[in-house]
């Protein structure tokens, strides 16, 4: 490769202009380095996105050819009671998990905040649920949720005098049990983010407050929480979006049961697409999920802006 800086024959050219070859070579190299990423994104993100959008307008039939149905698939989703229940379960699960993890994460972060060396161990240990493989963790919880008296969780709550619960086996408790596991898994992550946020809180404010004789609660209310506000927004958005598209937890723990009581949007889409071969409706379900995510993100951003001003 010849260097572009090698003395080229000087032509009459204004000094700001590079020789022609240099002008297109720079961008070309940039695009070449980007090409692998863009190609993979194109094939496995963007094309599927458009295929999904396109197929959602068809009754997809493998051998008979696709039949244009317009917005009928979307109508099915909006009016079908199964979908209605699944959307509702998704929202409940997303909100419950998000709020539970944020509140618990904040409390724990405030409790273990500090530079002490031994905390390193506590943080590491507490963080383990976050990095572990969802499918395996869910199997473990499924066993712990064993509904009989000798199920592990029933033994544990028995110690504090609570009656055995049916957990995943009952329509009334299945969704809450899944939520419990999700909070267990989400809390340490939120805690770590809060800890990172707490480092940024101005220490001199605490000292000033201490001099003024402010109580712990007031310090928390007027200094710590306002300083953490951006962290709250980020966590809320991230967790709510993650919660809406929950799949593995439900698929492994209950697969939507018993009797559809814990069916969420993604498990329903999965069943429609891969078991009942209703690819058109399933694609439309994916688009609805995407729109819900988008709307949620926009709402949070607007609220955030309004609060900031």
């Amino acid at each position: 490769m010849t260097s572009t800086l090698a003395p080229a024959p000087r032509r009459t050219r204004s000094p700001g202009h590079a020789p022609k070859s240099v002008r297109w070579r720079g961008p070309l190299i940039a695009w070449l380095f980007l090409a692998p990423a863009l190609l993979l994104f194109l094939y496995f993100k963007f094309i599927p996105m458009f295929v999904g959008l396109w197929k959602s307008l068809f009754k997809v039939q493998t051998f008979l050819g696709d039949e244009w149905v317009g917005f009928q698939n979307y109508e099915t989703i909006i009016t079908d009671s199964e979908f209605g229940a699944a959307i509702w379960h998704s929202v409940v699960l997303a909100l419950g998990t998000t709020i539970g993890s944020i509140v618990l994460g904040l409390v724990l972060a405030l409790l273990i905040e500090g530079p002490a060396r031994y905390l390193w161990f506590v943080r590491t240990a507490a963080f383990l649920p976050v990095v572990t493989t969802m499918a395996a963790v869910a199997e473990v919880w499924r066993i712990m949720f064993h509904p009989a008296d000798n199920g592990l969780l029933n033994i544990v709550i028995g110690w504090v005098g609570v009656d055995p619960q049916p957990w995943l086996a009952s329509e009334d408790t299945s969704l809450w049990s899944i939520m419990l596991m999700s909070i267990w898994r989400g809390t340490p992550y939120d805690m770590m983010i809060f800890l990172a946020g707490l480092v940024g809180v101005d220490r001199t404010l605490y000292e000033a407050a201490a001099v003024d004789g402010a109580s712990t609660w007031r310090r928390l209310r007027h200094i710590t929480l306002p300083a953490l506000r951006p962290v709250f927004w980020i966590l809320f958005t991230l967790a709510a979006i993650r919660g809406l598209r929950v799949f593995v937890e439900v698929y492994v723990l209950t697969n939507g049961g018993p009797n559809g009581s814990s069916e969420v949007l993604m498990t329903l889409i999965y069943k429609l697409g891969f078991q009942k071969n209703e690819l058109g409706v399933a694609s439309a379900g994916g688009i609805v999920l995407f729109l819900a995510t988008l709307v949620l993100t926009v709402i949070v951003q607007v609220l955030r802006k309004r609060q900031a001003t």
Partner: protein, 259 residues
């Protein structure tokens, strides 16, 4: 607190080596130590599934790191028209969760546009889609921006070509960031569930996480094999996390708190 968050995992560790095979035998105290669960796991192909997982994560991670480093070099060190759009596209892919496109992705994988390849039932079908990850690219880009321009200019004056500058100056300096994207990429690929579920219809290509479900419903084996397999599915990411903790925490805060 430590008990609450690690209890289930410790319980798994103990129960996987436990003798009783009663379906409720998940416990925090061992009855009788045995390796039998791991021996029986062999008959149930658990180690084949583990190998599949390692194949996918090995090649997937290698591809992902290469792709990220290349893309980041362009985004961090070059100025070109259309850069904003590319950045926007990357962010879009991060906003677009894989679950949403799972159904159409299965159609695309069955018949790749233009190339007309069927990737269903191939390792490539599990590896290629995880090859580009917006998070890795962005973390890498942020890091590469910090490398001083002077180094690059000096090399250029010495007559080094583009690829040489990239390979001998930029990439070695980015080793810490490679650790970050490596450990995150590893856990992300290892945790994949829907993708192998879509791509691997035959059990001989299953990865360990998706194989757990069939082990559970297999009535010939007790719960011990399921627990042993679950432990094997958890260990790699736990080990990766413990070994690269500092990089992990750095990536976590750089990825989340910014903005």
């Amino acid at each position: 607190m430590v008990v609450v968050f690690t209890g289930p995992l410790v319980g798994l560790l103990i129960s996987a080596f436990n003798k009783t095979l009663d379906p409720t035998s998940f416990s925090l105290w061992p009855d009788e130590f045995t390796l039998e669960n791991f021996v029986q796991a062999k008959d149930k192909n658990v180690y084949l599934y583990l190998l599949n997982s390692f194949i996918v994560v090995g090649f997937g991670l290698l591809l992902q790191m290469l792709v990220s480093v290349f893309a980041a070099y362009s985004l961090a060190r070059k100025k070109f028209r259309g850069m904003t759009i590319v950045m926007l596209l990357m962010l879009t892919t991060m906003m677009l969760p894989e679950e949403i496109i799972a159904i159409p992705l299965s159609l695309v994988l069955a018949d790749l546009p233009v190339l007309h390849l069927n990737l269903i039932g191939t390792y490539a079908g599990m590896i290629l889609p995880v090859g580009a990850w917006g998070f890795s690219i962005l973390v890498m880009t942020e890091f590469m921006k910090e490398v001083p321009v002077e180094l690059e200019e000096a090399a250029r004056i010495d007559g080094a070509g583009e690829l040489r500058i990239f390979a001998t100056i930029i990439v070695p300096l980015c080793r810490p960031a490679l650790g970050v994207i490596g450990v995150f990429g590893f856990t992300m690929i290892w945790d994949q569930y829907l993708l192998p579920l879509i791509v691997a219809p035959e059990s001989d290509m299953w990865t360990l996480p998706i194989a757990l479900r069939s082990l559970r419903s297999d009535e010939e084996v007790g719960i011990g094999v399921l627990l042993a397999a679950s432990l094997l599915a958890l260990l790699p990411s736990i080990i990766a996390f413990l070994a690269f903790q500092r990089q992990f925490m750095r990536g976590l805060t750089s990825g989340a708190v910014k903005g």
